[in-house]
Symmetry: C2
Subunit: 281 residues, 2 copies
DNA sequence: AGTTGTAGCGGTACGCTGTACGACGTGGCA
DNA sequence: TGCCACGTCGTACAGCGTACCGCTACAACT
């Protein structure tokens, strides 16, 4: 009798357990969905930044662009670390907390800064863009690279692709550059993204690349030898064993190639050629 | 007489002024050179991180890799902002300042983290890399993308291309992948950099891209209308005027294309094709 | 014209950060 | 055995983002 009761209890417990597990997975799924929705909500909140125009009646001392421009100037001069709310306010001759009337938090300020820089990427005269889509993409890509060269700190800001007026205009202009490409919208968007990705990747690398100069090669070679001793560096090993310039030769090749100014356009054109060839099939 | 004296004085002053100016430009030049050298010194100091092996005799509680692994786990779980020296120390069950015996400052810790992640990019078995250089590059590129998908916060760390063992191994492997490419070292390095740039650019974009989901389209359209009203958005304007899906259609195209899993390899292959075609001429 | 609500401004304070400094105990060598 | 330097870590400080809240002066209404 007691056994039976115990058995029943066990079965009941198992059932409850299974039920609990099911509930658990349901909760997990809901949580995941909620997170996804939250992400979207956050990102769309970013659009809100651009939609809400200074809602007050009274005239404010500054415009948001004033903040953005001052921030860009400050970062250009002293680096991204120098940009703090206090410092920017000081630069503008205002109290720190005043900035929070133009911007909800520092991240929003950075979004402003990002869009300000995107303004420099824009082609001033759309009509001047070449008809040929590949040439037009080279023009836009080069402008982008130039802007990122002026403001290499852009990558330190960790901005997601934004919805600011200038960012949208950049997309618009890039699509405009593709007007001579006979393909449907999805293909064009694919090309827009791909080219933007290459360009940004180039700029990201260029930002961190070493300019020409002479490192203490002894340390370098010593380090390379230590690495090779650990094994698993076939190319390095061959270079050390062979007589073709050794490790220093490889280093030089990287520095030289990294500093080659024609590299950007050369590879961009290679990419565009590859895209065109693929689209032609 | 007094006039003559005054004239003389003026001439002398001018001469001195010119001399001062010359000195000034010299000083500027020297300062620029010093800055360049300083940059190099700083970057080479980074190699020092890898060269200096725990110099002490006594056995330390942790290894640098312990720190790196704990940091990666922490950031994976709670995001890059969660990584502070205090928090990591707590995670390791150590005092905060203890970490500073493994690492000179937080930046060095991040370099360690970066190289740890680069370890995931490495191809486990070099011999398994396809002979064909284009196929081999696709393998390496895909591995890189996968690692960056697992750790999209890598771009928040603002790391320059590093000299850590795994980073060097990645370069080595990539050059190894190009062994079937008949070209001299400079060309190969160009290809290595270009492909790495595209791959990183793709990952950088993917990190910030919106996953599939439904935004509040009304706000979006309203925003687009506001922008078009400002002028200078020909494509957007045409989309709003035309009947081909409108702004929502464009938005969808971006979201759809951004979420297209085949996009990475497709465009990487296009790039490689373009490179091969160019090298063949 | 006078009044008033509030938009714009900013001082203070809190909890967090990275890290300089110095104290402490213990392990390894002489 | 004695020593000392190595690994460990508590404390302190300057600077960060920003929540909270009081103040001032202007735009709008009576």
């Amino acid at each position: 009798m007691a056994d039976k009761l115990a058995e029943k209890a066990v079965r009941k417990a198992e059932k409850l357990h299974a039920k609990a597990e099911k509930l658990h997975t349901t909760v997990d799924k809901l949580a995941a969905k909620a997170e996804r929705l939250q992400e979207w909500a956050d990102r769309l909140e970013a659009i809100e930044l651009w939609r809400r125009e200074s809602p007050g009646r009274r005239q404010a001392r500054f415009t948001r662009q004033d903040l953005a421009r001052a921030a860009v100037a400050l970062i250009d001069a002293e680096g991204a670390d120098a940009l703090s709310m206090r410092r920017l306010a000081q630069e503008l001759g205002a109290g720190t907390m005043t900035l929070y009337h133009y911007v909800r938090n520092k991240d929003e300020l950075l979004v402003l800064v990002g869009d300000e820089v995107m303004g420099e990427v824009l082609v001033p005269d759309l009509a001047a863009l070449p008809e040929d889509w590949m040439e037009a993409m080279v023009v836009i890509g080069t402008r982008t690279r130039d802007a990122m060269r002026r403001h290499p700190w852009m990558f330190e800001l960790n901005l997601d692709p934004g919805f600011g007026p200038n960012s949208v205009r950049h997309i618009d202009q890039t699509l405009h550059a593709l007007r001579s490409l006979d393909a449907d919208l999805d293909v064009k968007v694919d090309v827009v993204l791909a080219v933007d990705e290459y360009v940004m990747g180039y700029c990201l690398h260029e930002r961190g690349a070493l300019g020409p100069g002479q490192p203490p090669m002894d340390d370098l070679v010593a380090y390379a030898e230590e690495l090779v001793a650990a094994g698993g560096y076939p190319t390095l090993e061959a270079l050390l064993a062979g007589d073709g310039g050794g490790v220093v030769g490889l280093w030089d090749a990287f520095v030289r190639t990294g500093a080659d100014d024609a590299r950007f356009e050369r590879n961009l054109r290679r990419f565009l050629r590859g895209i065109a060839a693929d689209l032609a099939t």
